[in-house]
Amino acid sequence: MLVAGAPPGRVPRGAYARGVRDEHGIQAEGLVREFKGGIRAVDGIRLEVRPGEIYGFLGPNGAGKSTTVHMLTTLLPPTAGTACVAGFDVARDGAKVRAAIGAALQEAALDPLLTGREHLRLQTALHGMPKAERRERTEALLERVGLTQAADRKVRTYSGGMKRRLDLALALVHEPSILFLDEPTTGLDPQSRNALWSEVARLSGDEGVTVFLTTQYLEEADVLADRVGIIDHGRIVAEGTPGALKAEIGRPSVEAVPCNSSERAAVAEVLRRFGRPVPGSPKGVTVRLDGGEEALADVVRALETEGLHLDHLQLHSPTLDDVFLAKTGRSLEGAAEEAESRPDAESEGEPEPLRA
Amino acid sequence: MKSFRSVALAVAWRGIHNAFTNPAILVPSMLFPLFFFTAFAGGLSRVADVPGFDFPAGYTAFQFVFVFLQSAAFGGIFNGFAIARDFESGFSRRLLLAAPRRSGIVAGYALVALVRWLATAAVVTAVALLAGMEVLGSGVELTGLLGLGLLVNVAALLWAAGIALRFRTLQAGPLMQVPVFLTLFLAPVYVPLALLDGWIHAVASANPATFLLEAGRGLIAGEPVEVAAAFAVAVGAVGLFTLWALRGLRSAEMAG
């Protein structure tokens, strides 16, 4: 059950995949979306999401994440390129795509005047479920997302976390094989965020649902995603597992701060045996480890052997922000600030659909 | 006193500047009175043929006075909306923090209402004159009419300010508007008091707005009636709603 306080963390893939609900995944080739004024919010995206995996789509505000999601969920026709979701072409077989997917988009998109239960009843009715099944499914989903107690309260009284949970429940009404989550934890407190992560991991691990998750939070992509695509200015700049992407950038570094500042030179001498010095804290010494994370134990032993006492020892692994920095020359935070200061297609009023 | 004045002028400058540099703010408040004037004076002019209707300046002037005072009242109310909007956006907190004499804030809003209404009144009057309105009152009498309008404008603003300061949300808009609307329309709008019948006559007779309307019409027709009573009502309303607004300010201060 999706309840705040459930433990976070990635679910090992081999541990429980009992069956993969989705057999096709998502494929996009040369996907482009152009808006009025020639603004290309999405500029030729090629991606593949394997069935049953959690794909994290990471990028700053205005990078093109939501536009991509809108195209893949058939809400926005592509200007160019093709995409297949659950084995169906998004441009030609929209209705079939929609039958196979669930989406919790960036806005919670709830009616403040309806209760949680009424939302689910409406959603089940729109999916054409028979009356008895509607009731059953409503109660099951309310239970699953922990909203049974609040089911008869109007949504305007819900907290942000509760709204997101209801949003997720609505996306799961028709048991989709592919789930799109557009920045699902933005604005949530850490507890609610962890709870949502657990549920997403369970959906993928237990039920084999393919999850396409967009986020601007590094930690979210790192913890949840099997593979990550990093998007900037409408293009994918890097793609792979979080570990592989980080390894591509470089090896980890270790920073050691001696208790006694007079021992700094001695610490530096020891650390130099394990790697090349790099800029770091002025009080300590930082080197990039030639032997990777595994060399950390040797570093500790060597420092102990020399009788050097440390106030602080820290291993810095490359982050996805480092990956973004290496690929684009900017950090994700800096890119977010830059995106906020320029007008971008994703926030520039209502996009004109190209077809009536 | 100096800080009161500087606060009032600063708040007033902002409101006046925003209104006159944003047509979307100023124009609707001018169009509405013009529209009512057109609908009433234009569409109902035959009512002047009702036996017993003998207003010397004609139906256009008769309706002009109503529209003149109505625009003053609603001009005050619209500025009350602006106060509520400032609270919703958080701008009021900035004003409350910065102003050494907070009562100056209310005075500033009142100044904005006055200036905006004077612009509206000028336009409405010009249109009425172009439409052939007869003005039989003297300069002094017309100044009296203007004075009544100014007092109504300030009174309405102070009423709306009191609501806005207490509720601090635009959702309180109907609370500001409806009592003023009812007060205005339960008065001799279309015909003089003497031609009203039944319950409406009883209500209008007790309605303070009737004094204002009858006095205003008398001033424009050059036959002043109950002017002292009308000014007493207007000044009394200003006094009462000043207290109401200042109490509202205390309430807003306590809310933080």
Partner: protein, 259 residues
């Protein structure tokens, strides 16, 4: 209507009605305001009964029709604002991701208007009857009054839906309210057209379709069965509704923009 479409329309209609009735701040004024204005106008303009050529000896009978028009105006803004909110919050996107047919959305939306208009019309008629109105068309005429009033509300509601779909914002819909109000006032709402003295005003009232909507309802109360007035009233209500619905449908397709 096929069963799935009926289910969709029913679900969306239920939501539309529930939502409308859960907003007393919007609903109560739409009931009270027209009645207050009626009382004020009848009190203030009752003397107009004495004008030579006035078609009835009761200004209340004459003015009652206007309450239905005002009710319809409220229906426009309520319907439009609700739909605009769905667009702004992304709820329309949520609906678009279901098998919902766009016809279901419009029909469901309009069902809420029908429900509100029925309650309004019944209320106004009841108040009128209590106050002494005696329709010349008899009991059958009462039903036709309600029917025509609901049709007018539907037509105006469709205009509201079109405005919402065209602009996508509730503020823009609200901003149209004064314009629609102007249409009401520049009509034969307060005096019959032949008694409007000012030429340009009379011409505008003659061109204004709202005059004929009012006169259609009014004829059932003060005249009886006036075929021409009814034909014009029904015809224009249907025409306005059809045009507005068509325009709303076109813009809805654009809003949904689904493949």
């Amino acid at each position: 209507m096929t069963r799935p479409l009926a289910l969709q329309v029913g679900s969306l209609a239920r939501r539309s009605v529930v939502r409308t009735l859960r907003q007393p701040v919007n609903v109560v004024p739409s009931f009270l305001f027209p009645l207050i204005l009626l009382a004020v106008n009848v009190g203030g303009l009752g003397a107009a009964e004495r004008l030579p050529g006035f078609p009835t000896d009761s200004y209340l009978d004459f003015a009652l029709a206007f309450t239905f028009m005002q009710g319809a105006l409220f229906a426009t803004t309520n319907a439009g604002t609700d739909l605009a909110r769905d667009i702004q919050t992304g709820f329309l996107n949520r609906l678009a991701l279901t098998p919902m047919r766009s016809a279901a959305l419009l029909l469901g939306q309009l069902a809420g208007i029908v429900a509100l208009a029925l309650i309004q019309a019944t209320l106004y008629l009841a108040v009128g009857l209590v106050a002494g109105v005696r329709p010349e068309s008899g009991v059958a005429g009462l039903f036709v009054v309600v029917f025509l009033a609901v049709l007018v509300a539907l037509a105006f509601g469709a205009i509201g839906a079109f405005l919402a779909l065209r602009t996508g914002t509730g503020e823009a819909v609200q901003a149209m309210f004064p314009l629609l109000f102007v249409f009401l006032f520049l009509s034969s709402m307060n005096l019959p057209r032949n008694l409007i003295e000012i030429d340009w005003f009379r011409i505008v009232a003659t061109i204004n379709p709202v005059s004929y909507l009012i006169e259609g309802i009014r004829s059932l109360i003060i005249t009886g069965w006036d075929a021409q007035a009814l034909a014009l009233g029904f015809g224009l209500a249907l025409a306005i509704g059809a045009v507005a619905l068509a325009a709303a449908s076109v813009w809805l397709q654009g809003r949904l923009a689904r493949s």
